[in-house]
Every structure is written in structure tokens, then in C-alpha cells.
């Protein structure tokens, strides 16, 4: 497989301009003759669908939720970065670019990341024009806050509901286009395969989740904005429905999967309360602006009430280890530091898996009202879940799986290795390297959705001869038949174990061996356990009911079946990457003081895995990463 990144030549700051000029255009009158399928209605899908329709394309947008407004982008809390430099604190496009490259531990493409930083400023303008109610100062101008991995205030926010407000902006734009007839919305519809004709993505096969009908939709191009795959771990901050099926099916049809092992463990989540736990809840990173993270210095103090532990007996370990970034160290670093102190036996709360996030000092400094204004809804959420009042008792937090930097490989046009199949947002791999900085997911989703893919789709359609595809084309029929077979196969197992029990077991295995710290030994073990568990799943899973009705067990089973396969690829990728970088921490590769130790000589590349057929090992393709504008260095936040 040939990986052509298609990064334009020339100076970094001119690449996107140059590319935009060189791209083919589609005549406005011809656009309506072209149909584009968008799968997913979050920031990366919904924004693309709305914008493509505004441009004149005929758009079909699919989501598994009952409304496009419920895509998981909605749960992002803290904010969105943009290099506006409204605070006059030294920010610039280049600084946002640099922070993102460095935050990603030098495993992302310079060209893509620079374009992201350039586009960030337009996103804020666009969202304000749509009526997104960002926080403001008394003078009426926009407010900013700081986020991890940056020393400037460049994060725009709407209380603790930034993702919700940005998504509602995109959703409203989408509904505007629905009312004009440019977008047809297919809610409660799940994509189960991509249709490839003559080597090009020409449609998708979906299941209507209400009637169970399997149907094919054909188009000139397909965009997957279907999010990440954190739910492979069962417990994560992802929504329960978030899944990898769309990108996994595309992988099995020939799209390369890049850096699958790059997963982000978010440091500030509410710790696991018990066996019944169905998901984990994130507490926004923005809390670390005012909250101080600590554990007792001595193990013996862990069972004491936190307020009874005097200042001198507390270890503010982030401030101690990383004095210049302190509590705002990047996520991967803060997560590992939490694991470390808990492994030492200094964790707090049930099972000793927790650290304190304390607002005592901040409340003394600025008052309860100010803290309530900044984080009120987060404090409420915490109290509702834990029954503890964080205004009085420090929060307990622990890292949890939150985001996946890996995803389908895409070129500069956001096109996968299948021509015509474009991938946006968390579903692709392109911008965050081995670790994503806080408030950058919303930025990337909207950059891809509003400003990048609507143009590159035009270039693809404008430069490609697309013959009409008939619904009875043998490749279309074969794909649809394969989907039916798979659904029937799942229903025919009629075993004894529930889907959830398999998912939970897979998740436990992944968290243990492919979570915050990974070792060759552990990964090999996982690679033995997972295939066995998968075989058991296909022999013994129990799915009640039929395929011709709303059947939530069937939906879940299809997703878990794909998670099994993806989990194996993640472990394989983690095992092959004999270095530590960003969220990928291999215990064999660390500095004497326990920091991630990269191996730039051997691993400065994107690992793009290619499906080679059932039962065969996937093929590793490498896209070398070239750094012309930044010098590779060991990340230091000290």
C-alpha cells in the first residue's frame, strides 16, 4: 500500500492557501447533481453535512441517535482552542501549532497541524455568528481560560457545556439545511458497511434501527465523522453508543488504520464506584485551572478525612514534579503521575484508586461565588454522582479512557486509502499525534467539518470521473448480502452469555494490558486472551429477539464484535511501537525519572495498518514524519 500524504510543498504558512488555489472546483450548478453521504452528526459530521449543503451538494446524513443533536461531541465540557490572541499574552498561530505538535509528542504531521491552528480563528468567528453563547467579559468581548499543555489563555468556553453549544450551532445549521431540502437526515440508522465499486467508496449499507431493514445508499463520496473507539475499554467517558463499527468496516474494506494504540487517558474523571459501573464521567480539565491535585504524603493518612490532613502532610505532586506547568500539565503526564502515586499506595477513596482535586485555596482566593460561576454545573454533577459536596470536601478523581488519537489514516485532503472515503474528527488520526491537548478535539472536529472537508470533497468530485452506480451492481449486492449474513450470524448464535458481559471482560483485559502502562509481556498476554474471548463470543453470545425490530442487544453485539477485532490491532500496534510517546507508555522505555522515552530514530512514523484478510496478520505500512519547522525534543513541562 502506498501512503501519499499529499502535503503541499512550500513554506508551512502557505501550504493551505496554495492547496486551496490548486484544488479543482465544482461548478455551482453541478453541485446539486452530486450526492455526498455523511455518517455521524457530531461536530465533524454535522458541520460537514451543513456546509456541503450550503455549497449546493445533495447531502444524506446518518446518525444512530434519535436526533443529530445528541452526537457525543455534546459531552465535551471545557472549551475550544483558537489562536486569537485576544488576551495579548503572546499567542499566535505558530504557537498553537507548536504546542499541538509538542503536546502530541512529535507524532503528528506538521502540515496538518499548522492548518488546524490557522483554521482555529475562523471557527470562533463562525460559531459566534451562529449564536454560540461563549462566555464574555463585562465589556462584551469574549473570555478565555487556560488549558493543559499551554501557557497562554486561548480556550473559548460556554460554561462547562462548550461541546453542547458548539454542537447545537452545527445542529441548527444542519436543520436549517434540512428545511431547505439540501440535507436528508436519517436518524436511528446505523452504518454497517461501506460500498466500494471500482475501487472507490460509492455508498454505505445501513440498518434502520427501528424496523431492522437493511438498506443501501449510494453517493459520489462518503464522509465518516463517526468518532473514536474508546469504548473498546468498556469503561470510558464516551457515550454508551459510541462505537468503532463504521471505521472498522472501512478498515476491512481497505482503509488503513493509523496508530490504533494511541489512546488518551484523561486525568480528571470520577473514580469507579463499583461492579455495576456502566461508564465513567469526566470532570473537565478546566477544573485544574483552580483545583490543586494532591495525595497524602504518607500511606497511613489515606483513610483519614482529607480536611483533617494538614498542609504539611500533603503532596501536591504535580506542582512538585512539574513546577512550571504544575496542575496544568498535559493529560498523559497528569494521568501517569496519578497512577504512580496510587501504585505507591497513596491513593484515596474506594480501592485506593483516586487522588484529590482540591478547591479550598481557590475558594479562599476568589470566593465561592466565583468558583460556582466557573464550575457550578461540574460541581453539581460531581455531587449528584458521589453524594459529596466539592465546595466543602476535595473532589476525588482518577484517570479514565477518554479519547483515541488513532483512527483511519487520511491524507492532507482527509481522504483515506479508499478513494472517495473521507474521514473527519476523532475518527481520523491526523492532528493530535500521540496525545491530544485539552480543548483541541472540538477545534479539530469543526476545522475538518466546516472548513476542510467541504473543500477537499469538491476537489475529489471535480477531478474524478464518477460513473453512475446501479443499485443492482454486483458489488453493491454483495456488500448488502454480507451485512445481512453477519446480522443473521449474530442472531443465530443463541448462546448463554449477555453481550455486556463479553464487553466488560474485553474492557478489563484492555485496561489491564493496553491501558495507562503497557509492557511487551502484558500485550502478548492480551493477544492470547482476546482471540479466545472473541471465539467464545461467537459461540456463546445470547441475543434475544429478531433482526426485524428495535433490538438494542443486537446493536450492541455488532459493535462489540468489531471491538474484539480492533482490540487485537491496538495491542499489536502497542507491542510493535518499542518506545513511549504521549499516551502510549511502554514500561520498558522510560527516562530514569519515569517520563516517556521516545525513540525518534526508529519510530518517527505513522503506523498505518492494512487489513490482509481474515485470519491473516495485518500489514504494517509506515509514513515517515518529517519535521522541518520544529526541532524534536524531549517534552519537558518541568
Amino acid at each position: 500500500m502506498e501512503l501519499r500524504s499529499k502535503i503541499p510543498s512550500g513554506p508551512l504558512e502557505k501550504k493551505w492557501d496554495k492547496h486551496r488555489f490548486e484544488m479543482k472546483l465544482v461548478n455551482p450548478a453541478n453541485k446539486r447533481k452530486h450526492t455526498v453521504i455523511v455518517v455521524g452528526s457530531g461536530l465533524a459530521g454535522g458541520a460537514a453535512a451543513a456546509t456541503l449543503s450550503e455549497l449546493g451538494y445533495n447531502v444524506k446524513c446518518f446518525c444512530f441517535q434519535d436526533s443529530p443533536r445528541r452526537a457525543h461531541s455534546i459531552a465535551a465540557q471545557g472549551g475550544i482552542n483558537a489562536a486569537k490572541n485576544y488576551q495579548n499574552d503572546g499567542d499566535s498561530i505558530f504557537r498553537l501549532f507548536y504546542d499541538t505538535i509538542k503536546g502530541g509528542d512529535f507524532r503528528a504531521r506538521e502540515g496538518n497541524v499548522y492548518r488546524l491552528a490557522q483554521t482555529s480563528v475562523n471557527i470562533i468567528d463562525q460559531c459566534v455568528a451562529q449564536g454560540v453563547p461563549f462566555a464574555r467579559e463585562y465589556g462584551g468581548l469574549l473570555a478565555n481560560r487556560s488549558f493543559g499543555g499551554a501557557q497562554v489563555s486561548r480556550t473559548f468556553y460556554a460554561r462547562g457545556q462548550t461541546g453542547q453549544q458548539l454542537l447545537l450551532g452545527a445542529y441548527q445549521a444542519l436543520e436549517k439545511e434540512v428545511s431547505k431540502g439540501g440535507v436528508t437526515m436519517y436518524p436511528r440508522t446505523e452504518m454497517l458497511d461501506v460500498v466500494i465499486v471500482n475501487g472507490r467508496a460509492r455508498g454505505i449499507v445501513v440498518r434502520d434501527m427501528v424496523s431492522g431493514a437493511i438498506e443501501t445508499h449510494l453517493a459520489d463520496a462518503v464522509i465518516l465523522g463517526t468518532g473514536g473507539y474508546g469504548n473498546v475499554f468498556f469503561l470510558s467517558t464516551n457515550a454508551k453508543g459510541s462505537n468503532a463499527t463504521a471505521i472498522w468496516r472501512a478498515y476491512k474494506r481497505g482503509a488503513a488504520f493509523a496508530n490504533p494504540c494511541f489512546t488518551q487517558i484523561h486525568p480528571t474523571c470520577i473514580p469507579v464506584a463499583g461492579e455495576h459501573q456502566s461508564k465513567l464521567t469526566l470532570m473537565s480539565e478546566s477544573l485544574r485551572n483552580d483545583g490543586r491535585v494532591w495525595v497524602p504524603k504518607r500511606k497511613e493518612d489515606c483513610a483519614k478525612a482529607p480536611n483533617a490532613i494538614p498542609e504539611a502532610d500533603r503532596d501536591y505532586y504535580l506542582e512538585r514534579k512539574y513546577p512550571s506547568f504544575g496542575n496544568l500539565s498535559p493529560r498523559d503526564i497528569a494521568s501517569r503521575a496519578a497512577k504512580e502515586v496510587c501504585d505507591e499506595g497513596r491513593g484515596v477513596g474506594p480501592g485506593g484508586r483516586g487522588v484529590y482535586l482540591d478547591f479550598g485555596d481557590a475558594i479562599k482566593r476568589v470566593g465561592v461565588d466565583k468558583i460556582a460561576e466557573r464550575y457550578g454545573n461540574l460541581f453539581e454533577m460531581y455531587q449528584r454522582i458521589t453524594d459529596e459536596n466539592p465546595y466543602e470536601v476535595p473532589m476525588r478523581i482518577y484517570p479514565a479512557v477518554h479519547y483515541t488519537m488513532g483512527g483511519l489514516w487520511v491524507d492532507y485532503n482527509l481522504m483515506s486509502t479508499i478513494p472517495g472515503l473521507h474521514v473527519t474528527g476523532e475518527a481520523n488520526f491526523s492532528d493530535h499525534g500521540a496525545n491530544r491537548l485539552g480543548a483541541s478535539a472540538l477545534m479539530q472536529g469543526l476545522a475538518d467539518g466546516y472548513f476542510i472537508v467541504p473543500l477537499t470533497i469538491g476537489d475529489y468530485i471535480g477531478s474524478t470521473k464518477l460513473e453512475p452506480v446501479a443499485a443492482d451492481h454486483p458489488d453493491v449486492q454483495a456488500t448488502e448480502a454480507a451485512v445481512r449474513d453477519r446480522v443473521n450470524k449474530l442472531l443465530a448464535v443463541k448462546g448463554t452469555r449477555t453481550v455486556t458481559s463479553f464487553h466488560r471482560e474485553l474492557g478489563r483485559t484492555m485496561w489491564e494490558y493496553c491501558g495507562m502502562a503497557r509492557s511487551a509481556e502484558g500485550l502478548r498476554k492480551a493477544l492470547e486472551i482476546i482471540p479466545k474471548l472473541r471465539d467464545e463470543f461467537w459461540r456463546d453470545v445470547r441475543i434475544p429477539g429478531t433482526g426485524a425490530e428495535l433490538n438494542q442487544s443486537l446493536e450492541h453485539a455488532g459493535r462489540v464484535a468489531d471491538f474484539f477485532e480492533l482490540a487485537e490491532l491496538m495491542c499489536l500496534d502497542a507491542l510493535h511501537r518499542e518506545e513511549s510517546c504521549g499516551g502510549h507508555f511502554r514500561v520498558e522505555h522510560q527516562t530514569p525519572d519515569g517520563e516517556a522515552l521516545r525513540d525518534d530514530e526508529h519510530f518517527t512514523y505513522v503506523a498505518a495498518w492494512e487489513f490482509a484478510g481474515e485470519g491473516k496478520p495485518p500489514v504494517l505500512n509506515k509514513e515517515p514524519l518529517v519535521f522541518e519547522n520544529v526541532a524534536l525534543s524531549q517534552r519537558s513541562y518541568k
Binding site: D66, S67, L141, P187, A239, R384, P454, T498
Partner: protein
């Protein structure tokens, strides 16, 4: 703790439903309400029965997917709390809990506790937006917005579109939902050009979907997991009446040119 559940079961939109009784054993007070239902469902699957279908996704009170009548109250007993954020510590050991889908003519039942809320999307499509095509925006700080206006907009924009307001309303009105969007966009300078048209179209769409009228019971405000105020309804009514007058004036002024 142990609970007795009485759950509405309905196999499809065209079938009749019934209340079925289930025992929920060994429930932890730290479980969320949906986690309790997960456990019951695991038991049902193991016993070879269909699990109770219910909508849910983020389970952190923001996506608006979940929602059910719990002992006759939309989203259950905790104020300002969506079903997924309701915890079992709220219930007494040994209690009976009645669980039903949203009740509204405009929200037909699909299965068990799952209803079709597509009408809410159609209300937004009728006018719940600011027409700002991608790419044409001026610098964000060129539109100063008074902090109070911005805060008012945000208060209304917090709506998660769950439909509890409709389910709680004795008239089955979607006024709080519609008013929240009209208030969010109407409070901002960017929302002014389409303010009249938005109010007209959204209110008429709401009526055409079969929702009832608002007679200010105020039940919606009590049920709203985001505690959106019925002040927004006053704003909607003002904008609707104002826009009706404005539309007449427009007609009177208009000619064939």
C-alpha cells in the same frame, strides 16, 4: 436494596402495551437509575426474555437521550436531574417504582420506553437557527454582547431537548422547548434579523405537530433537568405576538414594486 419495578412494555408502535412487574435485587445505592435497569436487563436476557428498551447515550445528563416517567414524574424525583443522573440512593429500600415512557400524542411510542421525538427536530428546522453560512463571519470580537445578554442566552441554550417538558405538561405542550430556543437566539444581537420569522415559524410548527397549548401550569419548569425558566415562554409569546403584528405591517407596506 431491593425494589419492585412496574415497567411499561410495548412491542411496537401499533401494539397495546402493558405494565409488567420485575424485581430488582441487590441494588447498590451508588448505582444510577439506568445502571439499575442495566442489571435488570442482564437478568432478563439471561432468562431468555427481551430486555427493556430505553434510550440513553452519554449518561452524564447532557445528550438528552434518556427520559422516562418515574412514579409519574418526568425524570423522577430529583430536581434538575436527567434520568441518567438520578441515583438509587434517592429511593427507599423496598419501594415500588412505576416506569413509563414520555406521555404525549406528539411522541409516539416506538417500543417500551423509547419514543419518537422527531417533532422537536422539526420545530428547530422551522426556524431555530441563525442563518450564517460557513465562511462569511466577521471577527468574533466585532460583535460585542453584553454579559447579561450572553448569560441569558446561555441559560436558555442549556436545553438538552429531552422532551421532559412535554411529558410533564398536562396539555402536552412543547412551549418550554420552543421558547428556550427562541430566547437563546433572540437574546443575542446575531439573532435579531430573523427574530420575527423565527418566532412565527417555530410556534406554527409546534402547533402543527400536535402539541397542546401552554396554559402556564409551570410543570415543565419543575421537570426540566436543566431548570430552564418559564420566563422564556413569556419571551416567546412576546416575540410571537410582536412578529404577527410586524408581519401584518410588512404586508400592508408591501406592493408589487
Amino acid at each position: 436494596m431491593n425494589l419492585t419495578l412496574h415497567v411499561w412494555r410495548q412491542t411496537g408502535p401499533d401494539t397495546n402495551g402493558t405494565m409488567e412487574r420485575y424485581e430488582a435485587r441487590d441494588v447498590s445505592p451508588d448505582m444510577s437509575f439506568l445502571e439499575m435497569l442495566d442489571v435488570v436487563n442482564e437478568g432478563l436476557v439471561e432468562a431468555g426474555q427481551m430486555p427493556i428498551a430505553f434510550d440513553h447515550d452519554c449518561r452524564e445528563g447532557i445528550c438528552g437521550s434518556c427520559g422516562m416517567m418515574i412514579n409519574g414524574v418526568a425524570h423522577g424525583p430529583s430536581k434538575g436531574t436527567a434520568t441518567c443522573q438520578l441515583h438509587m440512593r434517592t429511593f427507599e429500600d423496598g419501594a415500588s417504582v412505576y416506569i413509563e415512557p414520555w406521555r404525549s400524542r406528539a411522541f409516539p411510542v416506538i417500543k417500551d420506553l423509547v419514543v419518537n421525538r422527531g417533532a422537536l427536530d422539526r420545530i428547530i428546522a422551522a426556524g431555530g437557527f441563525i442563518s450564517a453560512q460557513t465562511g462569511g463571519a466577521q471577527d468574533a470580537n466585532n460583535i460585542p454582547v453584553a454579559k447579561q445578554d450572553s448569560d441569558d442566552a446561555m441559560d436558555a441554550a442549556a436545553c438538552i431537548g429531552c422532551g421532559a417538558c412535554v411529558a410533564a405538561c398536562p396539555n402536552g405542550s412543547a412551549s418550554l422547548f420552543t421558547a428556550a430556543k427562541i430566547s437563546h437566539l433572540g437574546a443575542l444581537p446575531q439573532g435579531q434579523p430573523e427574530r420575527n420569522r423565527r418566532a412565527q415559524r417555530m410556534v406554527l410548527q409546534m402547533d402543527s405537530e400536535g402539541f397542546g397549548h401552554c396554559t402556564l401550569y409551570g410543570e415543565c419548569q419543575e421537570a426540566c433537568p436543566k431548570e430552564i425558566s418559564i420566563d422564556t415562554i413569556a419571551r416567546m409569546n412576546r416575540d410571537f405576538v410582536g412578529s404577527t403584528v410586524a408581519a401584518r405591517e410588512e404586508k400592508a407596506l408591501g406592493g408589487t414594486g
